[in-house]
């Protein structure tokens, strides 16, 4: 795979690749993509894609509030917080 394509892909995936990593990964990704290309050989003309396995019925939940007991724990799990806010850096 071309490095340019790899970098565009990495950026979409929020991965910052070092040059060395990019080198290795472009070979590995390229190998898999080439392998994926074998899918061209099979005729899929009249087939609908299967996007969901075995899901045939509607599933809904009634509109009722469930008080979350975990809210404090969740705020506590944040690496950095201020009061009840979760904090991230944003130096301009």
């Amino acid at each position: 795979m071309e490095l340019k394509e790899l970098y565009v892909t990495a950026s979409l995936a929020q991965l910052d690749l070092s040059d060395e990593e990019a080198e290795t990964l472009s070979a590995l990704v390229g190998q898999m993509v080439e392998y994926f290309s074998t899918m061209r050989e099979i005729d899929v003309e009249n087939l609908e894609p299967t996007t969901h396995a075995l899901l045939k019925t509607n599933r809904v939940r009634e509109d009722a509030v469930v008080e979350s007991a975990a809210a404090d724990t969740l705020v506590g799990n944040a690496p950095e917080s201020e009061g009840r806010f979760i904090v991230i850096p944003n130096v301009l």
């Binding site: 509607n58 969740l74 806010f85």
Partner: protein
Amino acid sequence: MYQAFVGLEIHVQLLTKSKVFCGCRAAFGDEPNTNVCPVCMGYPGVLPTLNRQAIVQAYLVARALDCELSESAVFERKNYFYPDLPKNYQISQLGSPVGRNGRVDLDLGGSRRRVPIREVHLEEDAGKMIHAGDVSLLDYNRAGTPLLEIVTEPVLERGEEAELFLQYFRRMVRYLGVCDGNMEEGSLRCDANVSVNRPGKGLGSKVEIKNMNSSRFVKKALAFEIARQSGLLDRGAPVAQETRLWNENRDLTEAMRSKEEADDYRYFPEPDLPPFKPDAAFLLDVEKGLVELPSARRERLVAEYGLGPDQVDFIIDEKSRADFFERTVALGADPLAAASWLGSDVKRLLNREGVELAESPLTPERLAGLLVLLASGRIHGKIAKQVLEVLFAEGKDPETIIRERAWEQLIDAGAIAKLVDEAIDANEKAAAQIRAGDEKPVGFLVGEIMKATSGRAEPQLVRSVLKERLAKSR
């Protein structure tokens, strides 16, 4: 010399009790990160579960916009990284949204414009990020609240038309009870796309406008943007395809910092949620929610009650007001009187007290009672206004109020005659003048009698009895 094409993208925060994919409270203004759980905070291992009320409301809006309703509404993942988006994908819809190909026939004050609705889809909202110096503060209370996105075709031509559309739309979602329509708090949000071109040349470069948080700003921002693009075309300058923000302090649109590469959201069907296929029972529920919409109601109220244009606009503006009006009329009040009272004295008192009609002590029963008392002559106009004041202050029925205060109009001819006689005796000079054919003091004597009865005497009756007495004794 140019033609503008404006399309709107409206986001509607649905009025459900819980979030769209988890049971957390969907509320505005709570302490940060209190209405959160592992699902809406994007914890590992959790799964979305679809709120029935959210999908009902989504179909309801699509139905009200005359959309083709999807037989299989598919949720998809829209992938992009942003700190306020917990999963870094948004559950939204693309290929098979709730509704498509709808329309609104917009009344442009005399002419009509058909505004085609491209699609209505259900998605989840993101959290909020507040910038504070060199940090940003994240609050996920809003993350996962249900949002409905409505996209119009670009057929609006002026800022005023967009404003009218938005007002129409806001009124509609409030009628349907699916959104409170509060643009300042962000429960109704509107972005626009604007392109300007020479007539007949089709669409020009599309510019997205964001950050317009009132319908007035929508009008102003679009007017500015249309003028800006026209100005560029005048000078032969290109219009950049970009996103611009409305700056309400400077009254202009500004280009947003552009990103280096284009977005690629990599939509794909959400494997955690089966496609939703509305069945007969579900569609029946949707139909049940389909109230008479403002435009239809306007026409009917004019035809049925003969309301004038301003009156009817005022009455139908809020569904609760129109309901109040019709209930009052059904209880025997004169429609024009009811409309006029709602639009003047009642409105004034509501403003003064700072309450909504629905929360005020005034009920359709009480207003109808008051208007029937007035129409039957048991009280007259001035007393009626006083009764309304007392009603607001004490929350009592009009009957009770006039009984307690003995405000019922004096219409008994015998009693009036006695009062007239007393007045004649006390004002011989004036009486004599009238007997002599000078009518001038009639008003004075009527006034005296009114004063003596604290305004309760029926003035017309007083006048006629007075004239009769003074004529007789001539």
